[in-house]
């Protein structure tokens, strides 16, 4: 499905792991979305003053502010854009916690492109 001709869909990727961030950006780009990467929750939250993405992929496992913390901050600021939380460490109860906090989806790494594509589409469709 092409998104050309209308405002581009920008997917923000927030992950402290540079290699993962770069790979996910490539994957999102291959799915025909615009992509922008952030190395930490703080960096992402600061960017929201300039640009609000269509969707956010948030890594749960980050120093200082983890995915859930960033989601909490966003919601407390009134930012309702869809958030997909990804994690390499699937702790019991974390999925429910994220969904309850307002996450559109909770995915466990590694991420398959078909799953990611579906989830992004669903999140944006909202």
């Amino acid at each position: 499905m092409s998104k050309m001709g209308i405002a581009p869909i920008v997917v923000a990727i927030v992950d402290d792991d540079g290699a993962v961030r770069r790979a996910l950006r490539r994957l999102v780009l291959s799915l025909s979305y615009q992509s922008v990467g952030y190395a930490s929750g703080e960096e992402f939250l600061a960017s929201l003053l300039d640009m609000v993405p269509s969707c956010v992929i948030l890594d749960q496992h980050m120093p200082n502010l983890n995915g859930l913390d960033v989601l909490g901050r966003m919601r407390s600021e009134g930012l309702a854009m869809p958030v997909i939380i990804i994690t390499g460490l699937d702790q019991p109860g974390m999925r429910a916690k994220c969904i309850k906090a307002g996450a559109a989806a909770y995915l466990v790494k590694p991420l398959e492109s078909s799953v990611l594509s579906t989830v992004i589409e669903a999140a944006i469709a909202g």
Partner: protein
Amino acid sequence: MVKLRFMLAMVCFTWWITATSVAIAAGDADAHPIKRVLVFYENESTLPAAMEVAQGLRIGLDQRFPTGIDIYAEYLDIVRFPAPEHMLRLATDLEAKYADVTFDVVMAVGPGALKFLLDNRSRIAPGVPLIFGAINDARLKDEQLPPGVGGVVSHFDVPKTIDLARQLQPNAKTVVVLTGSSEFDRGWAKISSKLLEAYRPKLRVEHLTGLTLEGFKERVQRLPPDTILLILSVFQDADGRRFIPRNAAAEIAVASSAPSYGVYSTYIGIGVLGGYVETFQSIGEDMATLAEQATNDSATPQLIRSTGQFLVDWRQMKRWGIDVELLPADADLRFFEPTVWEKYRLQILAMMGVIALQTATIGALIVQGRRRRRIELALDQERLELAHLSRTSQLGELSGAFAHELNQPLTSILANAEAGARLVDTKPVDTVELREIFSDIVADDKRAARIIAQLRQLMVKGETQLDQMDLNDAVAATVALASSELVARQTRLDFHSDHSELAVRGNLAQLQQVVLNLILNAAEAMSNLGPAERRISIRTRKCEDGFCELMVADRGPGLTAEMRENAFKPFVSTKAKGLGLGLAICRSIVQAHGGTLRFDEHKHDGARVILALPPL
């Protein structure tokens, strides 16, 4: 008038005192006069027999005349100067020499000296008691001794000496009697011939005389070994050469191919095996006893017999292979050289005892040492097992973090691969991007492999080998392993080193286990703090004493002194979960590395644990 009487009285008193003193002094002199003794020796002064008699006389006379004794000595040297006219001249000279000397006793040592004195006593020491010594009874047999003559009669016992020889040489059939050519020597030949008559026909008696010293030696060299050689005296040989008999006997005895015997004590110790002898010193002492008696009463001096004894040279017994068991019970064995065992038996026994004790002690120590080593090995093994179990358990707890750590590169690889697959379908293909994707996939793959390798390293079991390593590297690798867990715990870790390299000898897995334990303890201690406050500080440095130090500090509540004390004890834990073995195992690992592990008692805002390892 009164004054005159006083002076007369004083003169009389002085005279009385003087007269009384003189009388007392004279009385003392009569009671303890210094005695004078004149001794005539038959031979010259260096003859060993004469010297021994002189020594005995000196000892005996000094003992018996404690107030003083004055000994005069004349050596007649009759062997070298036997002429009667010389004797007459000598007597005249001595008469003049001693005309003004009054003797208490006159003595004669040897038969020649006795004869000289019997002939000349009236001229040299008229009326003075005569004591003689060193004269064989055989020589006195035909002598009529005048009054005032007594002495020590010797045996120089030929028969008893032969009896000794037969006892030591039971198979001997021949006795060879060796005598020199002087008058004295010939006298001995005559006497011995008579004495040995009693042994015929059991023993064949041969007389060896009329030879030079070389002749004697040549003959005795050819004697059958079972011969008894009796050396009596050689004052002179057939060539008229004169000898000290002891020296001649020594040469003959050494040359002899059969054991030799003698009747003089001076022969024992120079090569002669033994004999029944009187010592010349004891003869001298006996003469001194008779001299004392002669000066104390006017009775005729006694005739006493000197006491003989069997005297045997142990070295000659060995030379001839004769068993000491054959000796008479009362024989005096001289020159005995005990074996080391006989000489130092007690010391050797004591030493052997000490050695035995030492051996036993060493043996016990070896056994104990082996047992201890076995126990130590078993303990080491158990410590390793425990450390491994603890490590495995720790890794199990961290499995989620490690899964995350491994998932990161796997996520990258999968995302890159799928993105790449899509990229190749686009036209034109962005080959630059494609290359970057492949490059990233390779890097992520290596990253995953590295994580697995590190995990495997920690899972190694039974490790004992210590390798040279950089403590900083060990810490960095551990921090990398723990990072995922620390992120999950929202705990920040700062690692700082004062040195680029801290070389230590250690086991990487064990040291990583210790560091990981310290890091997780620090994180645990701060679990109640807000994420922003959770900071672990790791610092390494080299101490002045060369030790390499690792300090892990947290911002938690810290430890009381009691907690610091107990922290390293097993089964002591502040955690709700956990056996409390972590730090106990850590300390045992560090101690096995020769290092120490302790809490810094000066740290109050949180806890700081200090690990110190010895330098290479």
